[in-house]
């Protein structure tokens, strides 16, 4: 069953509001450690999960991955709890904002080493050739990660073996504080797929329907044995690289401009054209705001991770 734009709109609001709440919690000191928000990039996670077969497919993201957890269906309270260092967090507080995962929802997690998750997706896809799952593995990463050896090796291997991997490149134009245009000789990153012998496409990453369609057709091809796809989803970060980044490096007006074409704005416009009215859209937002707020409050009530458990599970036995 295909998700409708309204479904996406809801998920995107959920992500947006989750991220805003996380920022607030960080600013007021409830969250320790770096937090990387995906504000402005919600359409990619929301659309991508819609294009997968969620019962078998698996997702690997980066530290900027709260949106993937949410779109994968993670419990919001457990997600907040993780970020807040609570024992009931998705990972018992061990991962934190930048390294969380939710294997029960096939989200094999964030990764805080740039590019390091791409080979995991290759391995997950490989595994699927033997375990009968017909799994497709999706690896999401940023533009800057394209310059990391791990991503190259992963793409080459996936291409050589024709593996069912979707490489989802979220091009938000910056790698931390540095514009990607200065760090590559050819800015059309999707074209790198040619080198590896598979298809690369560039899409509007702010439209969840476009993302869904691209991921779905990549998934179909992969499941048919047609090999990997590189999808370059163009988007923009509406916030800093991390909470607290003052973004002096961004040209004046860039973010304001971006706000005119950000996912929630263009989806709302389309939904209005489809016949929904402001009240209906507003009620989506309100419902999600409530949902996020109550998850955050619930998480804040939870006890901090128990220090006595800190040394458990380093090894299997």
């Amino acid at each position: 069953m295909t998700e409708s734009l309204l479904d996406h709109y809801r998920v995107m609001w959920r992500i947006r509001l989750f991220e805003e709440k996380t920022r607030d919690l960080k600013v007021r000191g409830d969250v320790s450690g770096s937090v990387h928000l995906c504000i402005g990039q919600e359409a990619i996670a929301a659309g991508a999960l819609g294009g997968l077969n969620r019962s078998v497919d698996v997702v690997f993201s980066t530290y900027r991955g709260h949106g993937y957890a949410i779109a994968s269906g993670s419990d919001l309270t457990a997600l907040f709890a993780e970020i807040l260092g609570r024992g009931a967090g998705l990972n018992g507080g061990r991962g934190g904002s930048a390294y969380l995962s939710d294997p029960d929802n096939n989200f094999f997690g964030e990764n805080s080493i740039v590019g390091a998750g791409a080979p995991h997706a290759v391995g997950a896809a490989l595994a699927g050739l033997f375990d009968g799952s017909n799994r497709v593995a999706l690896s999401a990463f940023g533009d800057g990660a394209m310059n990391q050896g791990a991503v190259h090796e992963a793409m080459n291997m996936a291409g050589a073996f024709g593996l069912p991997v979707i490489f989802l490149l979220e091009n938000n134009r910056y790698s931390e504080l540095t514009p990607i245009t200065a760090m590559v000789g050819d800015v059309e990153l999707y074209q790198r797929a040619d080198s590896y012998g598979f298809e690369g496409i560039q899409i509007d990453g702010n439209d969840p329907t476009v993302v869904l369609d691209a991921v779905r057709s990549a998934r179909d091809r992969a499941a048919r044995g047609g090999g990997p796809t590189l999808i370059e989803a163009m988007t923009e970060r509406l916030v800093g690289h991390y909470v607290g980044d003052v973004q002096q490096y961004r040209p004046a007006g860039e973010i304001d401009d971006a706000k005119t074409r950000e996912p929630l704005v263009i989806s709302a416009q389309k939904l209005l054209v489809q016949g929904f009215d402001d009240v209906e859209l507003k009620s989506v937002e309100t419902q999600e705001r409530d949902r996020v707020a109550s998850a955050a409050s619930a998480a804040l009530q939870l006890p901090f991770a128990d220090p006595a458990t800190a040394l458990e599970f380093v090894y299997d036995s």
């Binding site: 990972n91 018992g92 061990r94 391995g123 997950a124 490989l126 595994a127 599970f313 299997d316």
Partner: protein, 330 residues
């Protein structure tokens, strides 16, 4: 499978363990550079692709992708066995072992595992260049979350590798190419797979405890024989597993002998021997002489045999060091 005897080299024992793993654990897959069609640069994986088909395959020269794919496949429930041709090459891909494989169980509180086995071989050989000669076990024994073993005999090449494959932690098996083509010996195969861990005392004595592993087991045993003639008897403990390390056996022996020597091929500063020494003295085991560590001096490893001979410990450097130790007055 029934227990039986077979006559194999060290390399043949590795092959037998891989065959059994692929046979009994259908979730295993085996991959690496040149391992499938050509059967490995040392011929260790010969015949596996013809026996097990697609489950055994060659990869591009991409150690990060190899190890990373092993992590990903392991997370999905496969039990990958991969080969890194030379331990020196792990250095292009350490991230996948340290930041990735080692974190899987901890981060997920045991809900996800990375039951992968990484075979590699290390050590110097006359003429081998400085980038194909290092003993780097200390880089991995410092990493919580990884298991590390260093089999020194054909029997252990078989048993430790099986234990590694059966184990649910990411486990590194460090072989040694100087041992691959040693003489054929009779080993037991087909018996129950052992748990990881546990040392083995290969020579018994009361004057000195000598702890060693890998390429230095054989020269250490030779040294023990020579010293025995001189009236000095040595407990030679082949550690086999560096993680988990058999501290108990070592401390028990040192309690008896009062003297500890650790022998390995790796360069000395920060070698795993320093951990062995520290472990014993921290435990308060009384010593009658300062402990001695015998390894390569802190140098890059030269290719020329004449230079290499001045670097890597051998039977006589071991004998001399132990002689000095037992005659020393404190």
């Amino acid at each position: 499978m029934t227990a039986e005897q077979t006559v194999v080299t060290y390399g043949g024992a590795v092959n037998a363990a891989l065959t059994r793993s692929l046979d009994e654990r259908t979730e295993t897959i085996l991959f690496g550079e040149d391992v499938a069609l050509p059967g490995g640069v040392f011929g260790i994986t010969k015949g596996l692709q013809s026996s097990f088909g697609d489950r055994v395959f060659d990869t591009p020269i991409s150690e990060t992708a190899i190890l990373g794919a092993a992590v990903g496949a392991a997370m999905m429930g496969r039990r990958p066995i991969v080969e890194i041709m030379w331990m020196d090459f792990t250095l292009v891909a350490m991230d996948q072992l340290v930041n990735q494989a080692a974190n899987v169980s901890y981060l997920s509180r045991g809900n996800v595992k990375a039951p992968m086995t990484v075979r590699m071989q290390q050590g110097s050989q006359p003429g081998a260049c400085a980038q194909h000669s290092q003993c780097l076990e200390a880089l991995l024994t410092h990493i919580p979350g990884l298991r590390v073993c260093v089999p020194a005999t054909p029997q252990d090449a078989y048993d430790l590798l099986l234990a590694a494959v059966w184990c649910n932690d990411p486990t590194i098996v460090i072989e040694n190419r100087n041992l691959y083509f040693g003489k054929k010996v009779t080993i037991m195969v087909g018996h129950d797979v052992q748990e990881i861990g546990g040392s083995i005392t290969r020579h018994r004595g009361n004057d000195v405890t000598l702890v060693t592993w890998g390429s230095m087991v054989a020269p250490s045993l030779e040294a023990a024989e020579i010293l025995e003639i001189e009236g000095v008897t040595v407990d030679v403990i082949d550690a086999r597993w560096l993680n988990p390390f058999d501290t108990l056996a070592v401390c028990e022996s040192v309690t008896r002998t009062g003297r500890l020597a650790v022998v390995h091929e790796a360069t000395l500063t920060g070698a795993f021997s320093s951990q062995v020494v520290a472990g014993v003295v921290e435990a308060g085991v009384p010593l009658v002489a300062p402990p001695v560590r015998i390894g390569s001096p802190d140098t890059r490893i030269p290719a020329a045999p004449s230079l290499l001979g001045a670097v890597v410990p051998n039977v006589s450097t071991i004998v001399e060091a132990l002689r000095r130790m037992v005659t020393r007055e404190d």
